[in-house]
């Protein structure tokens, strides 16, 4: 499937043979480390896109018994607190207000309904690909348009730019509901938990592209855990694991960059300048986690007019922490999904409570689907496809 003007390096980055070769390297290394530790390695990734890519590749099953790949609070959509969703729904239900959002958000449940359910009841909800599209929507309509600002540092600059766009076009009917989350503060909160038992992290490649490798150096220098900034193609994920295994083997608590083609030491200063100009750090609630200080962003003072919470007179969002939800303990590795009191009963893929079930590849959603099947094949190694078309 050759594209004549496609960079050959980019094609190579997706090469299946390369991936299989790297898998062999990782498997051998992981076996050695597992033998030395006397148990499988426990690695946490903190990026929803890594969760998806790992699930899609079948890697978890292939590394079973060698490396336990655990998902941390890395999906900014899944960690949106129920209280915030409720406010988003409230806005969408107001006359003359349209809520514009990334597609990921519409099925995340609030305390009663999701944006999708609300839309069926008449709420105005539009899915957009880019916040710039939401600005175009505002320019084309007389009613108010509120963009749901969700995402980590990868996404926040684009949302900030939409405020710039709207201001430049003198649009009085555009605002943001700010629900962005920041990676370093939640990593600190996670790392400070005494019961957390991990051997290392795979760090989110694109959020780190914005904040810089240096911004996450504290994982090693303050908390003594090795971590690797990792890309998203299968060979890159395997490479991230390879480098992490080297760090664990050599006992070096360093934070390495295995995604240098995109991530720089200092990150993207221009993007951070845009964030600093339009946003201001604030405390915010994370679904399944509770309040994490300094982990969210509201609009900066000069741009408060664009803060939908102020424009529409919304009070403080009622935190949604569902009673009995043990996503936090799950992420720490203290329990398995079926040990949570809500699992399979009050919490299931059709009606998820915490982020572990909201994410379609979250630990609980995956467990619900995979483990509850009779005779699910546990692939232990590489298999050749018997028929090739």
């Amino acid at each position: 499937m050759a594209e004549s003007d496609r960079l050959p390096e980019l094609e190579r980055m997706r090469d299946a043979d390369l991936a299989r070769g790297l898998f062999g390297v990782v498997r051998d290394k992981a076996s050695r480390v597992r033998d030395r530790l006397g148990r499988p390695l426990v690695v946490m990734e903190v990026c929803g896109t890594h969760t998806m890519a790992i699930a899609r590749s079948g890697l978890r099953g292939l590394l079973a018994g060698l490396v336990e790949l655990r998902s941390g609070p890395g999906c900014p959509v899944c960690v949106t607190d129920q209280g915030h969703i409720d406010q988003m729904i409230e806005l969408a239900s107001r006359p003359n207000v349209t809520v514009a959002t990334f597609g990921d958000m519409i099925r995340v449940p609030g305390s009663r309904a999701s944006l999708e359910r609300a839309r069926a009841s008449g709420a105005a909800v539009e899915v957009v690909y880019s916040p710039a599209d939401a600005v175009d929507l505002a320019a084309a309509t007389a009613g108010e348009v509120v963009f749901l600002g969700v995402g980590f540092e990868t996404t926040a600059p684009a949302v900030a730019l939409s405020v710039q766009l709207a201001a430049g076009r003198k649009l009085a009917n555009y605002s943001i509901y700010p629900a962005h989350k920041l990676v370093p503060p939640v990593m600190r909160t996670l790392l400070a938990m005494p019961e957390l038992k991990l051997d290392g992290f795979l760090l989110p490649g694109h959020a780190t592209a914005i904040i810089g490798r240096r911004a996450l150096d504290f994982v090693g220098s303050e908390f003594g855990l090795p971590a690797v900034v990792t890309g998203f193609e299968v060979p890159e994920i395997l490479d991230g694991l390879r480098v992490l295994l080297d760090l664990v083997e050599s006992g070096r608590p360093a934070v390495e960059n295995a995604y240098r083609r995109v991530v720089r030491e200092e990150g993207n200063l221009q993007a951070r300048a845009v964030m600093d100009r339009y946003f201001a750090v604030e405390d915010t609630a994370w679904r399944g986690f509770g309040r994490v200080p300094g982990s969210g962003m509201g609009l900066a003072v000069a741009y408060r007019d664009f803060d939908a919470r102020i424009r529409f007179g919304l009070g403080e969002a009622a935190p949604g922490l569902e009673k009995g939800c043990r996503c936090g303990d799950l992420m720490k590795g203290l329990i398995n999904p079926d040990e949570c009191p809500l699992f399979g009963r009050a919490c299931h893929p059709g009606r998820p409570a915490g982020p572990c079930m909201v994410s379609s590849e979250g630990a609980c959603a995956a467990f619900y689907r995979y483990e509850r099947r009779a005779g699910f094949p546990r692939a232990g190694g590489l298999e050749e496809a018997p028929i090739r078309g």
Partner: protein
């Protein structure tokens, strides 16, 4: 949160907007976060904006490293 795709700058539209091409699909992308770009540069695109330029040399270097590793018989 990290869904971002590399694409080649096909045309400069001006005012910080370009057309990028990904596997033959052409779409409009904002370059406000990455400064000056030229046709044939590769950008990493997220939600309609480029978040970084792709360092092609680093990509080449990484692939070379992998190929060496595997040529060594995967000893590592």
């Amino acid at each position: 949160m990290c869904l971002a795709v590399p694409g080649r700058v096909a045309e400069i539209l001006g005012d910080n907007w370009v057309l990028i091409e990904t596997f033959g699909l052409t779409s409009k992308v904002g370059t406000h976060l990455v400064g000056e770009v030229a046709v044939d540069d590769y950008l990493v695109v997220h939600a309609g904006y480029a978040i970084e330029k792709l360092d092609v040399d680093e990509a080449r270097e990484r692939i070379r490293l992998w190929e060496e590793l595997l040529a060594d018989g995967g000893i590592g």
